[in-house]
Symmetry: C2
Subunit: 348 residues, 2 copies
């Protein structure tokens, strides 16, 4: 009995504590907390008063158990330190937040095993949906999640066969536009720097690169294909090798901006001028590369917009308003700045 009188002995305050203080049933408190308009204003006020007094916070855990909805989404990505991701994360986070969802961050560090582990953790957390922006083409993540009843949205990257919703940019065409532009500027020895092995983005960008070369009757030389792993350090080493070749390329198309920046840095270290000695084009158009000191020519796709579309689609799927998988590919365009040697577009 006496313990009944002590409101809070360290243990978190529950709906019962509030009910007791407000002299109502737990159900009524629940109704107030969930803004159900069936409560008399006077009662409601009394309950709210009790909530404030006890500093009550309803447990999302307990609620999730019974409603079977956690209001939680997972966000799986390859490497948060690649500036292309934060631009995307921001869009996801803000839209999710508006819809009352929290976001669980899963940074795989490009490790497929880590991705798989995260998938299982997300299932255990009973998240409502997951946005996957990390997968290689052989990933089973989407299947595993789907079979656990969790909605999935693939972001830009995708596995080989997929029957879940996908949003992305037109990577193949981006690769084509970048390479075509360099060809039009007269370059014939154009190197391509690949991203992560097995990433669909890298594969598709390379396909575009090859298509453009083919149009000019050029057989892509294997020595001009480098691996940069979408990672600045790996790319830096690869760029150094590329630019030290006796017959070095006159232009480099890197599968993302981070690697393009590494190419530029390597060139500067070797005393090569960009674009006079070597032209460089990237992919993503991350914010920093528009800086006038860099002026990287690159392929622009609206990742912010894309991430908002992705989140909207995922939330609709979670709400059951999306029965069929959707597939949406946004167009890209070339932004010519300084590093390719072409005539700058617009402000550039």
């Amino acid at each position: 009995m006496s313990s009944e009188d002590i409101p809070n002995r360290g243990r978190p305050v529950t709906i019962k504590d509030v009910a007791r203080l407000a002299n109502v049933s737990p159900k009524t408190v629940s109704n107030v907390v969930n803004n159900r308009p069936v409560v008399k204003p006077a009662t409601r006020e009394r309950v709210l008063q009790a909530i404030r007094e006890l500093n009550y916070h309803p447990s999302a855990l307990a609620r999730g158990m019974v409603t079977r909805s956690r209001r939680l989404i997972g966000l799986v990505l390859a490497d948060i330190t690649n500036p292309a991701y934060p631009e995307m994360v921001e869009g996801v986070a803000s839209l999710a937040r508006q819809a009352g969802f929290m976001v669980m961050l899963c940074n795989t560090g490009r490790d497929p095993d880590e991705e798989e582990r995260y998938v299982h953790l997300l299932i255990e957390q009973r998240v409502d949906g997951v946005i996957i922006a990390s997968s290689r083409m052989d990933s089973k993540a989407a299947e595993v999640l789907t079979s656990a009843g969790i909605k999935v949205l693939l972001f830009n990257r995708h596995p080989e066969r997929y029957s879940v919703s996908f949003v992305g940019v037109d990577n193949e065409n981006g690769g084509y536009l970048a390479t075509k532009h360099l060809l039009n500027l007269g370059h014939r020895r154009i190197a391509f720097m690949r991203g992560t092995r097995g990433a669909s983005t890298s594969i598709e960008r390379e396909q575009g690169y090859r298509r453009a070369l083919a149009e000019f009757g050029i057989e892509p030389s294997p020595e001009l294909i480098a691996w940069g792993d979408y990672h600045p350090d790996v790319a830096r080493t690869a760029a150094d090798l590329l630019l030290r070749m006796r017959n070095r390329p006159t232009a480099v198309f890197a599968a993302n901006d981070v690697m393009a920046l590494s190419v530029i840095d390597a060139a500067a270290a070797l005393g090569l001028r960009v674009p006079e000695d070597v032209a460089v084009v990237g992919f993503d158009d991350i914010a920093i590369v528009a800086n006038r000191l860099i002026g990287l020519s690159t392929i622009h796709g609206d990742l912010g917009q894309l991430s908002r579309e992705a989140t909207t689609l995922l939330l609709e799927a979670i709400n059951g308003n999306l029965t069929e998988p959707v597939r949406k590919v946004l167009p890209v365009y070339l932004v010519v700045r300084r590093t390719c040697g072409g005539k700058p577009t617009g402000d550039w």
Copy 2:
């Protein structure tokens, strides 16, 4: 009865389903799942077989309800698109992951109200701990969380009075070193670009700036103090104003690298050379600024290391191994590259 025979009718498979299939009690399954070495190997194998067969994933929700630990931490930050954060997020995410914790991402967008809302959501989620890297000095976030029984670790920024653990870099000294260096190079009209209003980092960096000026008997002129809000666009506008002044500063010390880059961009747009016409020093040493095309002189503090220390401390607090609040301030040093006009350090 017939429904008993159907293993899974859409509803997620529970510990009971596994127990039934393996012919054991739920408790035994629980023991297996939690690797408690009290189960006979044969039984254990049978249970694991059933788990695989049913594709069972224990509910972290249900477990959390009874164990009162979610194995979850919250990460509250001001703006994920500022490259200084991802470098930190990576450290937190990887260490948390190793310890079996998931991370909830809370991007406040520099909005104090949003921070407060996130704090309540984190309490509802019953997270075990929170790393706060977003607060202004008047924030009550740490107090509110602590009073809800949640461990808090303040990262770099801190409120006015705080009695929770804190890790950060020596912001005041960083501001001093940057300004002192510019003074030693002969600059006398040194502008300071502030960050977010009320952010302790910005305030402390300014204090260092003022201390250095005072040593040279210089009264900081109000017209040389600009607001950049730690935001590239705001900073860009402010920089433009600063550099268009009839009596413009010969040097600018920006409270972070993102703003320093905006200053550089503004200078280039106005046809001013860096460092000849205007010297620039930043703060944070984000990865990109080491690129030879930029070569930003800046204050380096090891944010990666700091974030790992932060996470370690938070996890220790969660485990109850940290009774007293800890306060840890890492030293910083000046990296001289190209933009300040001084003699480059090391590789630079």
